[in-house]
Amino acid sequence: MLRKSLPPELLTDVVEAADGNEALRCLATSHVDLMLLDLTMPERDGYQVLKALNDSGGVPPTIVVSADAQSLASERVMQLGAIGFVRKTFKPAELTEILRRAGLV
């Protein structure tokens, strides 16, 4: 469903991870231009992924895509280095706007 909501130009080379640990393994072995990160995941949630990346040297450009509607959730992920937060369900233009602001498109 997320993939179908993405602008086609972002779908050229997509790697998916089923949980936070798998995401960290992918990030350790691959260069990632943009990460779309959920917060509620098995094994290791989105906050823990961001904290682990902070501890290990850096967070790639990351937009958190979450159903969590608490304003504090958005504040926390921005403090952890995310470049944006979009709430499910979102319009593709919201992602594009964050990428534009970050100079990524």
Binding site: M1, K4, S5, S66, A67, A69, Q70, T89
Partner: protein, 234 residues
């Protein structure tokens, strides 16, 4: 276990809708209590009578006294939702919301002494040692807000509208167990949606269950088809 009635793609989409419903419910809970709510991965499963009835015997619930609020919903799809709390809820709510006495000066007991067997959404004569009416009303209101946010936000993305019956209290573990068994029988071919909420730095547990019977699942199946077709076409 009943064979899944939804294809893999539609089950994924339903999981996403449930995720959205959980996020809205968590935000409603956070707003009502002024506390940050930790969300966990929601579980969407086809019902199995034994597993539903065993919900209270597993995980963190096994060692706690529980009470719950049930609420039916109607409209484009029908079903029942249940919000379960552990015995810490009343003390924690009193602390979070800063109340210590019920209207009229009746002291609120923070314990769980002999709660009433069942409220069924109506105020009844307080039994000796019963929780106060204010405590019960607080729980009904809280569950009403959370269940409403959850179910509405599952319905909204698929352009469906639901309305709600009155919330009703289930005062004891035995009441909740009886209800779970009845509901498992009533929707044995349907879906059960399981959402766990935990308040940051607080010790009470809460869980929302949404029961969707087979006929509701068919309606949701159709709506998901339209939703996915719409996403593919956009």
């Amino acid at each position: 276990m009943t064979a899944p009635a939804l294809s893999g793609e539609k089950l994924d989409a339903l999981q996403e809708l449930v995720n959205i419903g959980m996020g809205a419910a968590g935000a409603a809970l956070a707003k009502a209590l002024g506390a940050f709510v930790e969300l966990t991965v929601p579980a969407v499963d086809f019902t199995d009578r034994r597993s539903v009835a065993g919900l209270l015997d597993a995980g963190p619930w096994a060692d706690h006294e529980v009470e719950a609020v049930r609420q039916p919903f109607f409209g484009a799809f029908t079903g029942e939702s249940l919000m379960i709390f552990d015995e810490q809820v009343h003390a924690q709510l009193a602390d979070l919301l800063g109340y210590g006495e019920a209207p009229g000066g009746e002291p609120i007991s923070m314990g769980f002494p002999n709660p009433p067997a069942m409220m069924r959404g109506e105020q009844s004569s307080p039994a000796p040692h019963a929780k106060s009416a204010a405590q019960q009303e607080m729980l009904l209101d809280l569950a009403n807000v959370v269940i409403g946010a959850c179910v509405n936000n599952i319905a909204e993305p698929i352009h469906e509208v639901v309305s709600f019956g009155p919330p009703a209290g289930l005062g004891t573990r035995a009441d909740v167990r009886t209800y779970l068994l009845q509901e498992a029988v009533a929707c044995h071919q349907g879906l059960i949606v399981n959402l766990d909420f935990k308040l940051e730095a607080r010790s009470f547990l809460s869980r929302v269950l949404v029961f969707l019977p087979e006929h509701s699942l068919q309606r949701i199946d159709q709506a998901l088809t339209q939703l996915l077709d719409g996403l593919a076409a956009s």
